[in-house]
Each structure stands twice: as structure tokens, then as C-alpha cells.
């Protein structure tokens, strides 16, 4: 038993070994991601930052099992991923809400499934808590078509968090939120993921968001994507998301990461 858990701790939760990915576009083969190596430990929070089109979403899709690597290996719990990876909760860039369900039943859909048997009343309580958490009280019975983009994102977030998957893959989950609400959500996400010891792979454009949340920040280069730098975030956790950005460590790390990123961003735009 003990040996088992020791082995578990040693095996990375997520591991990419020389994993690359090509895409076919108009008959031309384009490499979206150069072979990369990346391991994420259990309960680690890793942020991926980089210019548009650098393959960040491709990495998430490979970990979710939606895409296979063209070369190399992508493993989860030490096993190569075959088919969809049901251990992960994936919040994609596009929200995939069910248009015929209102907010409450969209959020609760994962609790209706046979793999998570739960009395209806308990599910309803959890849904109500989640709605409160993401600030959608009063909108329980609105349909997705009646919500703003930011509200839809929050529904998608609540729907993913509610069933507490052991690993979260998040693709710019807070991009459409206003600044204040974003801080509230960062705070909640930090709290929940630490409480549940979730492993998180988090794609963002926002360096501040990455430093606030992540144990490690991975800076990616412009297409074809590869890892340019990996930085540990040496800030004591849990941190106060509302004040962290005013601390000197935060500022110096932000500057160091920006130095890595800025060439790539300009490279990405003058294509």
C-alpha cells in the first residue's frame, strides 16, 4: 500500500515526452507544436502563457485525449492516453453549454450521470452553491442564449468545477470577465483547487493571472510552438489574489516573464 502511494507520488500526473503535433490545412502540413517535454506533478498548478497560435490549446486537447500527438508520447498517471481522458475536467475556450437547458440544469448536468450517483436534492444544493460561487444568482432559469459572454463562461466554469475532477484543463477561462469579477474567480479557483488537491493545466494570455495562480509558469514561443522558459513562482501560498500583484516578488517575476514573452508576441504578430 505504502509503496503504491510512493510510486504514485513519483509518477507525474501529466507527462509529455517529445510530443509534437502537426495539422493539415489546405493541403499543407503545418507543425503547430514542436516536440516538447513537460511534466506536471499531482496537485500542481501549471500555467501556459504564450502568443496566439503557439499550441497551448493543442497541449490541452492532447491531455484531454481529443487529439493524439503526431510524434512522442502523452501520458496520464504514467499511462499513454487512449481515447478520451475522463479523469480531466476540460473548460474549453468555446463554451459548450447545452442551449436547451437553463443555467441551473447546465451546471448540474454532470451530477445527473450514472457515474456520479447522487440524490436529486443533494445535486440541487450543490448547483445552488455553485451558482452563488460564480455570481449567477437570479439567473438560474435563464437560457444560454439570454446570457452575456462572461456569464456563459461562468456557467461553463461552474459546470466543470461542480463534479470536482482530479485534473482541470482550462483554456483562458476568465478572458471574457471584467477585472473585479476575474479576481473573485481567481480567488475561488485557488481555494477550490487547493482544497481538492486538483492538478491544473491553465492556459492564459495574462501573466498576472498566471503568476497569481500557478506554481510554475511555462512560456511558449510563437508558432511552431515550443517551450521557451519554465519559471517557478517563489511566492508563499495560499496568497491573497487581491493584493499579490502589489508585492515586489510578483513585480520582478512579472518583469522576468515579460522579457521572455515580449519577443515572441512581436514575432507572432508580424507574420
Amino acid at each position: 500500500m505504502q509503496r503504491n502511494s510512493a510510486a504514485e507520488a513519483a509518477t507525474p500526473k501529466i507527462q509529455l515526452l517529445g510530443a509534437s503535433r502537426d495539422f493539415e490545412a489546405r493541403g499543407r502540413r503545418v507543425q503547430a507544436l514542436q516536440p516538447i517535454d513537460l511534466s506536471v506533478k499531482k496537485a500542481e498548478f501549471v500555467a501556459l502563457v504564450g502568443p496566439s497560435g503557439c499550441g497551448k490549446s493543442t497541449i490541452l486537447n492532447m491531455v484531454a485525449g481529443l487529439l493524439g500527438p503526431t510524434q512522442g508520447r502523452v501520458a496520464y498517471d504514467g499511462q499513454p492516453i487512449a481515447g478520451l481522458n475522463r479523469k480531466v475536467g476540460y473548460m474549453t475556450q468555446k463554451d459548450t453549454l447545452l442551449p436547451w437547458r437553463d443555467v441551473a440544469s447546465n451546471i448540474g448536468v454532470a451530477l445527473e450521470l450514472k457515474c456520479r450517483p447522487m440524490p436529486r436534492a443533494d445535486a440541487a444544493t450543490k448547483v445552488a452553491q455553485m451558482i452563488e460561487l460564480v455570481g449567477l444568482k437570479g439567473f438560474e432559469h435563464h437560457y444560454p442564449s439570454e446570457l452575456s459572454g462572461g456569464m456563459r463562461k461562468r456557467v461553463a466554469l461552474a459546470r466543470t468545477l461542480i463534479y470536482e475532477p482530479e485534473t482541470l484543463l482550462m483554456d483562458e477561462p476568465f478572458a471574457a470577465l471584467d477585472a473585479q469579477l476575474r479576481l473573485v474567480m481567481l480567488d475561488q479557483l485557488q481555494f477550490l483547487t487547493r482544497l481538492r488537491k486538483m492538478t491544473v493545466l491553465f492556459v492564459t494570455h495574462d501573466l498576472g493571472e498566471a503568476i497569481t495562480l500557478a506554481d510554475r509558469v511555462v512560456v511558449m514561443s510563437a508558432r511552431p510552438g515550443r517551450i521557451r522558459a519554465i519559471r517557478n513562482v517563489p511566492i508563499q501560498r495560499p496568497l491573497d489574489v487581491f493584493k499579490a500583484r502589489f508585492s515586489p516578488e510578483f513585480a520582478s517575476l512579472h518583469e522576468a516573464l515579460w522579457d521572455e514573452l515580449k519577443d515572441e508576441v512581436t514575432k507572432g504578430t508580424d507574420l
Binding site: R86, W100, E112, L113, C115
Partner: protein
């Protein structure tokens, strides 16, 4: 905006509704126009024309005669029975098989040329064949109209399943949903608007094809009434039967409009 453009923008349902809620002025104007037309019809044609044109009074008398002797109810019942039986059958089989084909893309791909050929054929062309096979009674008509409704609903259901955003079932699979759960919670609800749309259109098709079948060869129904009375050069009877048809189709449209209003909330 010009009146013409405005009229073009008003949907079918709104126009149907406009018949029933109107200002007193509009209602008076309509009654006036109707009265003028009927009076012209009644008094203008000369004796030679009368045989072909009939007149409103004779038409009303013919209609009253049918109401009194029960012909009207008997024939109306015959038409509505064929129509509703075929409609129910066609919809049920269409949705059922449509879902099966939609969920089994391999079957769909193999069968699609046959289905397309059958779908494209105007089914009314099969009427003579069906009459040879099943006689001029109810059965041949039910088969024909069922086929019409079936192909409409069937192909729409397949399209509905195929048009689902693939990210939706994928999202549920990542949550751990089984195939059955994905069918129940994603595929069927996503295909429902397509199914309902085709079912709405199918009502009109069922109606018109039932009448066509009755006109071609039959021994009952409103279509038979028209065919019979025109066959014996009874203009009043022919017009009376057509009048029944007008009332029936307005009523049908009104019922459909009401049902639709109650159903399409989430698409607002």
C-alpha cells in the same frame, strides 16, 4: 418601410393571427368586400354561366343538405382519419429510423443514395401503383401519406443529428457520460428543433397529399366529394366541398400556430 416589405417580413404565423385579431374597421371592410363578391357572384352571371359558376345560395343549400343528411361529417371524418393516422405513423417511424440512421453513420452512408432517390420522388406519383396494390379504400391512401410524412421527418431527423456541434457530445463524454446518456441528453434534444420543424411542415403535406389521393381514386373523403360532384357536373356541390376545405385548412393552420407558440421558448 413600404407595406410590401413589411408584408414580406411578417411570418406565416403572424398573418394567421392577424385574421383573428383585428380592429372593428378592418372587420367591417372585410365583411363589405365579402358581401360585394358574393352579391356579384349571385346576380351577375347570366343563365349560360350559371351551370359552371353556380351561385352562393345554391352552394350554401348544398352544404346545408350535407350537414343535415350527415354526408359532411362522414366525409370529413374519412379525410381526417386518413390524414391523422398517416401523420402519426409517418412521424413515429420517421423519428425512430431517423435517429437510428443519424447515430449509425456507416449505415447512413451505405443507404444514402437509396434514401435520396426515394426522398426526391414526388410520392403522389406512386398513387396509381398503391391503388393497384391496396385498392381504392383507406389502406392505399394511408400508405401513400405515411410515406410522404415519413421521408420528410426521417431526413430532417438525420440532418438534425448530423448538425449537432460535435463539441457538445464531446463535453459530456469528458464528464463521463455513457453513450446512452449522450443520446438522451444531447443528441435527441439537439435534434428536436429539426424534428419539430419537419413535423410542422408534414402536417400540410399530409393534408394536401390526403386530398390528392382522394381526388385520384377514392370512395370517401372531402377530396372524393370534390371529384364526385365535378364528375357529375354539379358545380354547387363542387364549390361546397372546396369551401369545406378552406375552413378545414384555416382551422388547421390556427391549431398549428398555437402549438408552435407554446414550444419554442429556449430559442428566443
Amino acid at each position: 418601410m413600404s407595406d410590401l416589405a413589411l408584408t414580406a417580413r411578417i411570418g406565416f404565423a403572424e398573418r394567421a393571427r392577424a385574421v383573428f385579431d383585428s380592429t372593428p374597421g378592418r372587420i367591417l371592410a372585410r365583411i363589405g368586400i365579402l358581401a360585394a363578391l358574393l352579391a356579384a357572384w349571385q346576380y351577375l352571371p347570366g343563365p349560360g354561366m350559371r351551370f359552371w359558376a353556380s351561385d352562393p345560395q345554391s352552394i350554401v343549400m348544398a352544404l346545408l343538405g350535407w350537414i343535415i343528411d350527415g354526408t359532411l361529417w362522414h366525409q370529413l371524418f374519412a379525410t381526417l382519419t386518413v390524414m391523422s393516422t398517416s401523420y402519426a405513423l409517418g412521424c413515429a417511424i420517421g423519428v425512430g429510423l431517423g435517429l437510428v440512421f443519424g447515430l449509425l453513420p456507416r449505415l447512413d452512408k451505405v443507404m444514402s443514395p437509396f434514401i435520396f432517390a426515394a426522398y426526391s420522388l414526388p410520392k403522389i406519383a406512386l398513387a396509381p401503383l398503391l391503388i393497384i396494390l391496396f385498392g381504392i379504400g383507406v389502406l392505399s391512401k394511408v400508405v401513400l401519406v405515411t410515406l410522404v410524412v415519413f421521408f420528410l421527418v426521417f431526413s430532417s431527423t438525420i440532418d438534425g443529428v448530423h448538425n449537432i456541434d460535435p463539441d457538445l457530445p464531446r463535453a459530456l463524454r469528458l464528464m463521463g457520460a455513457t453513450r446512452a446518456e449522450i443520446i438522451r441528453k444531447v443528441l435527441i434534444p439537439a435534434a428536436l428543433p429539426w424534428i419539430f420543424t419537419s413535423m410542422r411542415i408534414a402536417v400540410r403535406y399530409a393534408f394536401s397529399n390526403t386530398l390528392l389521393a382522394e381526388l385520384i381514386a377514392s370512395n370517401s373523403g372531402i377530396g372524393y366529394l370534390i371529384a364526385y360532384h365535378s364528375g357529375i357536373y354539379d358545380a354547387a356541390g363542387t364549390y361546397a366541398a372546396v369551401l369545406i376545405l378552406v375552413i378545414l385548412s384555416v382551422a388547421l393552420t390556427e391549431v398549428l400556430t398555437r402549438i408552435e407558440k407554446g414550444m419554442s421558448r429556449w430559442r428566443a
